[in-house]
Structures are given as structure tokens and as C-alpha cells.
Symmetry: D2
Subunit: 345 residues, 4 copies
């Protein structure tokens, strides 16, 4: 079977997914929609696809699945429309910045029985996957404490931050998802602290640029997250899992692995300076997994619920900083039905 | 000048300090006191010292300084006695488990003008010192976020934990001191979470075996601490300092640095399995620094105040776990006069 | 400009080059030739090319360049034919196993003015390139000693060895080329020793499976090479360059970079187990460079002369093992006109 | 039992051994001899020993063993004298620079039944020992190829080189010994090349400053050695052992293990800059082993024969460079009776 794709949004991340689809033997990029005609044309030409409107893709008989790479505030509406149109849906995170809107959207997905996968690409990175596999093989015993460090090479513009929902919702959200992925148990409480150490303009916009978070689960497992909007040495992305029998960690990735030795010491080059070069392989594997879910008609993972929970953790973290206390996730989500979200890789 | 020492307590840590004194060309171990005659005799014989009572050391004209390695509940009393006797004092941490008792003791030290140094040995480890030096040389710019990981090879007996004041007071206390040492600014708030994941007996004794802590300073700097009473791979001791211009980290230490490669991968040996082999060099440098303070009659560092603050941070952490909120250090200490404790290395 | 390619040979390495051509925006795979119709068809279908005979490609007006991936004993003839047909030629190493035959072939290339590039893929690996760049930037000063370690995961079959010309001509030949690439100066003498330690059948076939080689240049620079046909820990590929101001080395590559710590120590996974996964990026960059040479009509590098010299070094190494002495390269090649082969990257 | 020592020579290496003896609970430094009275007095005072003449030590009833740290050209004579005097002898390498003189000296040792240990300190370094242990435990299977890299921070003065016998006899000799130690089989042939790349004055003195060596054993095992008199990044000391089941390597050692990350990359400090700080622990273990041999009256290792063979390998290497051919060790030594020198650690 070949899964025929419509791509909604031909921007930066749209190109990444177009490439992943184009080089996947089980997929065909059939159509691209974008208000910017040049962007849409460029992708269509490169992969032999057609430029169409969103409406045309919605009603097309030759489209099995869509990849939503449009601005965040359109995600929930598009998910609902394409769920009703019977298409399988891959949507970049987040579904929406508002928890209630996400819940409403997921109800539509539920009712229509649509396949929905949310784009937490790190779960598909070979190194993160190898950590998860080591856990599942029992190499570290029972997971006890997860430590996550994510630091970006540089802060985004304040314009972006205003639209993104702030550091917890646009940056830490990936770490919340990875914390759940590695802990294998739902998070119960969130405690966070935030500072403005990198750029006062970020503080003026009401956000933080340096945050620390502690998470705990019902059984007492911990996760800690450390984020900064700036790291001079590149795109710092680490996770370490400590368990009853041992620990496992990923090493940071760099474009070239050489070491120069001289009177100043032994120097290896900086890390990747951009998430797209760091996670090239993750994006390809992510689309490949989505295709497998579409083909097998099995529930996709990470699901809409995974997206909802990560967002709720971000909201809880923000509340914790403001109120100086541990915040229960249930304060944000209400009591949720168990969705059995830990299906492993 | 040769500094002539009396050693109070000939147990495990007493032996370590006896060796450091014995191999220091500026020092002479003159007397040892211990209720266990055999232990005292063994050290006395090895280093050409005399066995004496504490009282005899107190009144001896040939003793310049004492090293207090007796049980914790005797520390404050002994510090007061030897301060009044005009001896310079090196005391193993903690001064006492009660903040008010420590304060009272430090008042006596203050009144007598005695030299008091508290044994936070990690500050003298060559690797920790190199991190501190890198900070002072401006290699990482302004310090922003400090990450400390300390995990012991195995949990102590419950008997020890009952006497020690619990994990925050006997284990995390070293990390509190290192956090202050690296941040270069006083900590304002403490948030912590604790679990029992290693040994239920520890929980039954009212303590935790796995804790996470977040610290923040007035200017918004962060530190996070992760502790576990058990690490199968050895004595895990790491600190990482992230700043405006870069980051610096220490690598874990192992007795031998070889790597075996085979079909299972590339394997390096476990870490040191004991703090005494890990910190051999730190203990020697610690006593050497103390001797320098005694000789130069300058205030010792880490001081009694450093000991007091680290204890207060431990109390604040415990309070934070119990109450699920960020605790201000001033809730524990009251408002303290500025002691200008950041004198560098 | 789009360079239109004919692929000669649709086997294992042919597929690698087809993929590199197919994903290069400046290239189009137009035709494939292989006596195995299925293999040719598979590639043709995947990349939208036609299956043609070698003769048809030779005379085709729509083909600019060919990639020769046929058996070694056909390389020299095909190079001559396609040089005369006015096509640019990329040929997998070696041009031939016989030095005189290579020389004759290169004379034809010279006379026809054809572009000929020989496939020493390692020169295009990002890590090897970064080492070369560090040298060129002066980071290690004047190059003095190059150390190369290449070990294959497992020995090839004896059938392969009989056809390949033996370990020096099929395996060490890559290291000879890298030695020249890094030394930046021609090699004058070769000394080698060889043993059969891995598989007696290799010895019975008249070859070695474990070899060490020392090279020296006119100015006294050294290179040493260590090869084994078996390494349990994966595809071991290292180079280290020692110079007057420092040294630079590449680290071995593994598919995933995680580390598991437990009571047995700290373990990272084995290396890549296959040259094709190790050198994926190198193959893409190699074809990309070839396209640049074709477009710019500039002399290709590595050239036919580079291929000739590497083969001569292999012959010299074999002679050295047999005769127990340092062999001058000129004993093999005769005196050669300077071809100015060190054009950098 | 306490072994009572006489120290012959109070120079740089004499001090190292005095310290090792002084801190060993089974030993007592009883006497020191040196024509430089100040040097002898300093050591005597520090360790509570007497200053005596060599003659007095020779005839003293209260001396069990001597450590010979005098100039090389006195070693053989002193060994003979103290062997006849019934003392156990530890002698710094080499016994002599002339193979025949060494043989004559060892005959005296043999006749007198004296205990003689030659100072190849690296065998006692914890990291080298861990490699040897890994081999003996079968972790790498049958040893096949040993790779040794030794580079000094800077070249010694030409005066030293003239007395030392040249790079093969003063520097590579340690690597020859380690090659034998790790191979576990006698070396049969030596091939070497040498250049002057560091300092023309070394060439003017008739020596080389950059050498490469290949060794082979009767069963076809290889070792390669790479030496330079200058390494800007510190005291480079590596050994790697490749075997049928895997490989084992030591990592280079540095005084502090930190890593600074910034826009220039990740930098660790240079290596030790001096053999005495690099091998501190090795010297202590070496003397400790000697004491064990003296106490147990068992043959010492490394023995006089080990010293002889390492010297012969150096002579063979020099001959190989001069004659451009593989030199058999038997050309230097003649046929030697089997001394069964591979007793492990």
C-alpha cells in the first residue's frame, strides 16, 4: 500500500515533512496547500505533487492522510475538519494552546474514529529510542529519576514568544513529553521556577528564559528538567534515566566528531546548532511510524491525549512558578479517563 | 612554622585526617584522643603522636589546632571548649543538627576570635576547584544554572540515618554547600521533593532515599540537585555550571581509566565505590588550606557560617517536601547579618 | 545544469551511487546497465531511469557522465571506452590490479582529456574532511606523523580475496590514500609486515589478514597503518594526525550514542557494523563533488593518478613483506612526472 | 618484616624512590649515598636515614636492599658489587647501554643468586595493569596487535641525548618493554624508521626525534610503536591491545577532569606534563612489588633479562633504521636460553 499525502503548510517544518514523505517508499506526496504560492509550488515541483486548496484536499478521493504544518491557531479546526473528512491526521504540536479547546477537538477525533498523531519528534530520534529500548529491556531496572536538559543555541524573537504561549508551552513541552515517555507513568505534581537571565525583552513580554522543573508520579518517581533559551555551545539535548539497576544517558550530538589537541587542551567541535540538523533522522522515522499506524489502522502514538497532557503539564508549571507551590496536574485537566498512553515505542 | 595538631576521634574519618596531617610538611600530629584506646594507639604509633585525653589536649601548651572527628552531637560543645582554649579548630560537618544550637556555638567562636573551619571537603577536590577556577576566570561568563548530581553506591543503615538527621542533613548538605560555592550568591528559596524508592526501611524511619531540589537566588540564578542513596555504577559526583558564555562540568572519577571493546560495546570500569578513595586528594588539600589559615591567622573558609547556611538549606528542603511549596531560607535562619562568605577558593 | 548519469553495474555499490544521484538536485539518473535484468530494473524503476546496454549508454547523446560499478577486471576497458566517448567518468577503485595496465589506461584518459574521478569515498566523509580542514587551517602545525587504524567487522570470503588482489589492494589501499591525503606529501618508502591470525583459509589463499605498515616521505614524515580483517566491536576507522603544534583525531562512529552504567561499568554500543552505514554521508558528498567537477570542467580529485599511486603503495607493501625490507615506491612506479595531486579537499 | 634500604643517588628519580620507600609500611630508608652532600642530606633528614658512602652501604649489616639511581654508566658495576655483597637490588633502567656488558653483569647476578629488579615503572601503573589484567582474564581473547603511542611534552637537551644512547635506548625502551608485557610472547623481528622533525640539533647529535617501529613475534603477533620527542598537549601515553575477541585501551591521564563548553567547542585540559606526576602511583607500586619479591625471596620481575631484551630491541631498531630492513633480535643477542620471562603481573 502507498499512503497518499496532502501537506498543509509549506513553511520550514512543512519542507522537513515533505522530504520525509518523498523519501519514504511507502508514501507519495500528492498535494500541497499554502497561501504562499511560491512555497507550495517549490515543494510540489520537487516531489511531483499538485498544488491544491485545503478544501480540495479535504474532499479529494486520492488523499489518505494529511500533515498539518500550519500556524498553531489553525490546528484544532483543521484536525476536526480532516477527522470528519475521514483522513488520517499528523499534526505538529501543539493541538492548541488552550486545554479546553484541545479537549473539545479530541472529542471530535474520538467520535469520528480518526487516526491522529501529534508531532513529538524526539520520541523517534534513534538515541532517545535507544534509551527507551534500554529501559524496556530492563537494563536499568525500575526507573526512578529522569533528568532532562534542553538548551537552545539562541532565544527566538519576542514576537514568536508572544504567539508560542511561552517557554513552558513551546520549549519545555517537548521535555514534558519525554519525561512521560521515559518514566512510563503519569505525572501527578509539577513544581517549577523561572527566571529572566538571557534577555530582558523576554521578561518584558511576560515570559521566562531559564526554567527548572521537578515532576513526580504517584509511585514517587522523579523527573527534573533544566531549560535555557541560550547555549553558546550548540543545541544541548540530554536525557538521563536512573533506575534500580543502573542508568542510561544519551550523549549530545555534533555534526563532526573530531578532537584537536594542543597546548590549550583537547577540543571537540560545538554541537548541532539547529533542531532540524539534530533531528533529521527523527523526522524521517516519525513519518515512517505514522505511515505504519495508517496502514495498520492502529491507534497512533504519540496521540492527541499525549499532546493534551504535555500541554497541561506546561500550564501546571506556569501556575507553579506564579504561586510558588507544587501544582497537581489534575488541577489543570480535571480527572481524566485512563487513556493507556504508555504503549512504548 | 609547624602547626601542632590534636586529633579528637580516631575513627574512619579521623584516620583520613591523621594521614593528611602526617604527610604535610608544615604539620605535626602531636596528640590523639579517643575513648577506644586501640584506635587512638594505632594512630599515635603510626605518626609518632601521644595518646591524651580531650582535657589534656585542651590545656596543652604544645597544641596549636584540633581536628574534631567525634560524633556529631559533641561537635558544638567541643568547638566552644577549644575556642575558649585558644586553639584553631577544624570540625567535620555538621556543627550541630539544630540551627539554634549552631548559632549559639558560632557566637562563642565569634567572641573568642577563634579560627573555625568546617569540613566541606569537596571544595578542595582538584576537579571541583578547577570548575570554580574556570568560573572565576570568566570562562562561562555569568553563572546562571548549576546542576548537581550526587548518588551514593549504597544506602547507609537505618541506624545511621536516624542519627544523621536524614538525607538532606547528611548527604544533600554537601550539595547545598557546592551550590553556594558555584553560584557565588546566597540562596533565597528552596523547593524539594522526596521519595522512598530504594529501601522501605528508610521510609519507615521517616526519611527519603531519592530527592530532587531546586534552589533560586535573589538575582534569579538556579541550582538543581538530584540525590539517590543507591547507584549501582559507583560513587556518582557531578556538577555542571551553565553561564552566559558557556558551561563547565566535571567528569566522574574512576580508579582506572581503560576501555574494553567487544561485541557488547565499549565498556569503561565503574566509578570509585567509596568517598574516601574518590576524595583522597581533597582531604589532603583541605588540611593544607586549614594550616594556611592557621599560619596566616586569616578567617577560615568554609567557615562556621557556611556550615550554618548549609544546614538551614537542609531544613528548608525538608520543610518544602512536607508543605509542597517553595520555602524561603529566611524562614529557617531569620534575617542574618551579611558574613561575606564568598571569598572564592 | 543537470548532469545526466549512466550507471554501469547495479550491484551493492551501484545502488549506493544510484541513491546518491537520485537525491542530488543537480543530477538525474538516466540509464542503468547490468547483465542481471532484475537488478537493473529495480534501480531504473525506483529512480525513473531506463535500462540500457553499455553500448547504448556509450553512444547516447543524453548521457553526460557514467558511474562504473562493474567488476574490477572491466574497469580499465570501460574507462578507456567512455573516455573516448566523451563522457565524464566516476570509477570505483581500483582502476585495475596491475600497475602497468593502470598506466596505459591513464594515458588514454590523458589523451582524450576526459574527466576521471576514482572512488576513494573516505576523503568525503564529514569527519575525515574535518580533520583535513583542521590541518589546512594550521591547527596542528606542520604534519609529522599520521596513524591510521582500519579494522573490518569480519573477513570476506576467500573467493573475494582471490579476486581482490589481497588485503593491501582491497583494504589497505583506502588507508594508503588517506595517508597521502593527510600527509600532503608523496610517500617515498613503504615497510610492511603481515600475518595470518584471523582465518587460516586466508593464509592458504596466499594472503594476510593482519598487517602493519610504515610509510615515510622525502621530508621524513611518517605514517603507520594497522589493519585487521576482524574486529568484534564493529567497523573501526580511525585516523590521527600529529603535528608540530598539536594533533587531531577522528572518533569512531556508532549508530546510536547512548551509555548504560551499571555494576559492570559504563557501556556504549558497538560501532557501525558495515561500511555502507558508516559512510552514507561520504557517498553522497562524493557524487556531489564529482558533479561539481563535471559542471566546472575542472580536474577531478581523487584522480586516476591518485588511484595509481595507492595501488603502487599496495604493491610496495606486499614486496616489503616478502623481502623483509623498506621498498621505495619508485621501484614499483618508475619515476613519475609530478601530477600535483595535493589539491586539498 | 621491614626491608631496610640503601639509596644510591639522591637526584630526581632518587627522590621519587625515597618517597615510595618512606611511605611504604614494610620498608625503612636507612641510608643514602650521593657525591652531592646537600642532596643526600635533604633526603636523609626527611626520612630519618643516615648519609653513608657506597662502600659503607655495601658492607653494612643493617641494609637488605639497594635502589640504584646513579648515572647509567655506573649501573652494571654497582649491580655486580651489591650482588656479591648479598643485597637485593633495584636498578633504574638501563643496566648498561652495551648488550655485552649487560650480559656479563647478569652472569654475576646469576652466579650470586641475587635478587635484581629493573625499573620499568609503567608495568606498575594502575591503568597499564588493568589492561594486562583484562588480557589475562580473556576479555580480548588471543592478543594479536598491540599499538603503543608515547610522546613527550618536550625534547631533552642534546647533552642528555648524547649520554642516553639515543631515542630508542632512552625513550622507546619503555615501549619495547610494554610491547613484550602485553604481547606475552618474545619479539622476533624489529623494523623501524626514524626522522628529525622536532629539533635539528638532535639530528646533528646523530639521533632521531620521531620514530615508528613495527615488531613481530614467532606466531605472527604485531606491535607498533609511535614516538615523538614533542607533544604540545602533554605527556601522551597510550596502549591499545587488539585481540580475537575484542580490544582494550588505556585513556590518557590529566591532572583534572573537567570540560568547558563554549562557542569554540568542548575543551578538556591538557594531559600531565611530566612523567613523575603521570606515574606517581606506578612508582609507589613498583617499590611495593620489589619489597614483596625481597620478602618472598622469589625472582623479581621485570628482571635483568627483561632489561637486556628491551636494550637489544633498541639496538635492533637502530640497526633497522640504518639498514632499511627487518632485523632479527637474535642478530643482537645471539641465541638466548629461555628465561621464561612472562610471569604476568
Amino acid at each position: 500500500m502507498t499512503v497518499r499525502f496532502g501537506l498543509l503548510g509549506a513553511g520550514r517544518i512543512g519542507k522537513v515533512h515533505a522530504k520525509a514523505i518523498g523519501s519514504n517508499p511507502k508514501a507519495k506526496l500528492a498535494a500541497v496547500a499554502d497561501p504562499m504560492a511560491d512555497a507550495a509550488n517549490a515543494i510540489a515541483t520537487q516531489y511531483g505533487a499538485e498544488v491544491r486548496t485545503i478544501e480540495a484536499i479535504e474532499s479529494a478521493a486520492d488523499i489518505d492522510a494529511v500533515v498539518i504544518c500550519t500556524p498553531t491557531d489553525t490546528h484544532a479546526d483543521l484536525i476536526e475538519r480532516f477527522a470528519r473528512a475521514g483522513k488520517a491526521i499528523f499534526c505538529e504540536k501543539p493541538v492548541d494552546l488552550d486545554v479546553e479547546r484541545v479537549k473539545a477537538c479530541l472529542r471530535v477525533v474520538d467520535e469520528t474514529g480518526a487516526t491522529l498523531m501529534v508531532g513529538f519528534n524526539r520520541r523517534f530520534d534513534p538515541h532517545f529510542q535507544a534509551v527507551k529500548q534500554a529501559i524496556e529491556e530492563g537494563q536499568v531496572g525500575a526507573v526512578e529519576m529522569v533528568t532532562i536538559t534542553s538548551r537552545d543555541p539562541g532565544a527566538p524573537g519576542v514576537d514568536y514568544i508572544k504567539r508560542s504561549g511561552g517557554i513552558f508551552r513551546d520549549m519545555t513541552i517537548h521535555d514534558f513529553d519525554i519525561a512521560r515517555f521515559m518514566l512510563g507513568e503519569e505525572i501527578e505534581t509539577v513544581t517549577a521556577q523561572g527566571s529572566v537571565l538571557v534577555d530582558p525583552a523576554i521578561g518584558a513580554a511576560g515570559d521566562y528564559d531559564s526554567v527548572s522543573v521537578m515532576l513526580s508520579t504517584a509511585s514517587g518517581k522523579h523527573a527534573t528538567i533544566s531549560n535555557s533559551r541560550r547555549a553558546t555551545y550548540g543545541y544541548d539535548q540530554r536525557v538521563e534515566v536512573h533506575g534500580s539497576k543502573g542508568a542510561v544517558a544519551i550523549e549530545n550530538q555534533r555534526p563532526v566528531s573530531i578532537e584537536v589537541a594542543n597546548a590549550s587542551g583537547y577540543t571537540r567541535p560545538p554541537l548541532h546548532d539547529f533542531f532540524m540538523t539534530r533531528y533529521t533522522e527523527a523526522y524521517a522515522r516519525e513519518i515512517s511510524s505514522f505511515i505504519d499506524f495508517v496502514e495498520s489502522k492502529s491507534p497512533a502514538s504519540p496521540s492527541g491525549t499525549d499532546g493534551l497532557i504535555a500541554l497541561a503539564l506546561a500550564d501546571a508549571a506556569l501556575k507553579s512558578v506564579k504561586e510558588g507551590r507544587a501544582v497537581k496536574v489534575s488541577e489543570i485537566t480535571g480527572v481524566m479517563a485512563d487513556k493507556s498512553v504508555f504503549q512504548g515505542r
